[in-house]
């Protein structure tokens, strides 16, 4: 499948259909933020990354690791790809890039989304040859079983296969068991059955924090 024929792997900026230019404002801010900062860890992705920054857990677990957050709500793989190819990686050299994206790729197949994620990983590897990319598994979503849960699970399976053969990436399953035995997701974990509550963030971030620390330790001279 060529990059051109896969919309999930074609770098695409977000069109300003609403009229206040916020997406580009955020991108420009990330580019300028990255000048003069020396993060060891870069988080990049969609709202699950962006909102993480607004809760206490960011300050407690990730600020101490010198992390920057380049999450944008609504972003799909093609948007993250565009951002990283257009300045967001140009002024920093983090040791670990944490990538969490794919759940907003509506209309794309799991294969297309996986290739989109791989395209992002390739760009990171080209611009930051010494960085390790930690790809986070897509979470289940929706109150009850639905096709997006299956799609996300398929993406995760495909990405995990890719991760096995590449030493500069690894995969982390972020689901601590959000789906109950009756197939439902609780609003105490996802208040809108997509985004995480503070308590759910605490749960998923513990193992994430441990994994990032161990990657940083391996990276140390």
């Amino acid at each position: 499948m060529s990059e051109d024929s896969n919309p999930a792997a074609t770098p695409t900026p977000c069109q300003d259909i609403q009229g206040d230019g916020r997406w580009m404002s955020l991108h420009n801010r990330f580019v300028s933020d990255s000048k003069g900062k020396e993060p060891d860890v870069l988080f990049v992705g969609d709202s699950l990354v962006q909102l993480l920054h607004e809760f206490e857990v960011w300050r407690k677990l990730f600020s101490p690791l010198h992390a920057l957050n380049f999450g944008v709500g609504g972003d799909a793989t093609q948007h993250v790809l565009w951002r990283l190819m257009n300045g967001e990686l140009d002024h920093i050299s983090p040791k670990v890039v944490v990538l969490w994206v794919g759940t907003n790729n509506h209309g794309h197949t799991p294969e297309q989304i996986c290739r989109g994620i791989m395209a992002i990983i390739n760009v990171v590897h080209q611009k930051l040859p010494h960085a390790h990319t930690l790809v986070l598994g897509l979470l289940p979503r929706g109150k009850s079983p639905n096709p997006l849960r299956e799609r996300n699970a398929s993406v995760n399976a495909l990405v995990q296969v890719e991760a096995v053969s590449l030493s500069h990436i690894s995969f982390l399953d972020m689901d601590p068991g959000f789906i109950h035995s009756d197939g439902s997701i609780a609003h105490q974990d996802m208040y809108d059955y997509l985004h995480l509550t503070p308590q759910a963030y605490q749960r998923v971030c513990q193992p994430l924090h441990e994994r990032i620390k161990s990657l940083l330790d391996k990276h140390a001279p």
């Binding site: 206040d20 962006q50 909102l51 920054h53 944008v72 208040y191 809108d192 509550t197």
Partner: protein, 182 residues
């Protein structure tokens, strides 16, 4: 309220939970969506003392007149359904990092509301957007992390104002043990 994020910040627990508040906010909702929800069960089983309404910024297909009309329609519906409740309508906040048409539109909606809400009855209008636009016309990401949604600290600032108004309303209305706020 419109925004679903508010209830997960500390400020909700500190200021609004003690007032027995419920949060029926859904991210992305337009006035049409809120109207539908309130017509289809969300007001059935509760008798709040106060209803706080905050919606309109997502009505991208509509003019300022239409948005104001939608908000008025919601206020009417609440008054019909809950004749004893007071209503607070929050003004639409400015948005976007720089001056842009949506800021003008939201301000126009607020002006229309300021003029027409008092005629409806016990409806208060609070515009808390003033402090967010700096002298150079920009909004800071310290207040709106994506130039639309409020940070925890910005929520704290506006919540203090809202909370004071609610306490005032509490003192003005007769005692009711089962007070609640929606």
């Amino acid at each position: 309220m419109k925004s679903s994020y508010l209830c997960w910040f500390q400020v909700w627990r500190e200021l609004f939970s003690p007032l027995h508040a419920l949060n029926f906010g859904i991210g992305g909702d337009t006035t049409c969506n809120v109207l539908w929800r309130l017509q289809n069960g969300e007001l059935e089983n509760i008798r709040p003392r106060v209803v706080v309404l905050w919606v309109g910024t997502n009505n991208h297909e509509h003019t300022a007149d239409q948005v104001a009309g939608g908000i008025l329609a919601i206020a009417q519906l609440v008054m019909t359904h809950l004749p004893k409740s007071k209503i607070i309508v929050l003004g639409l906040l400015p948005r976007g990092e720089f001056p842009n048409p949506l800021r003008e539109k939201n301000a126009a909606v607020n002006n229309l509301l300021r003029a027409s809400l008092p005629r409806l009855g016990p409806v208060q209008f609070i515009d808390m957007g003033g402090s967010f636009v700096h002298s150079d016309g920009t909004i800071s990401s310290r207040d709106m992390f994506d130039f639309l949604h409020l940070t925890a600290s910005a929520y704290r600032t506006i919540s203090t104002t809202l909370h004071e108004m609610l306490l005032q309303m509490w003192e003005e209305t007769p005692q009711e043990r089962r007070a609640s706020l929606v």
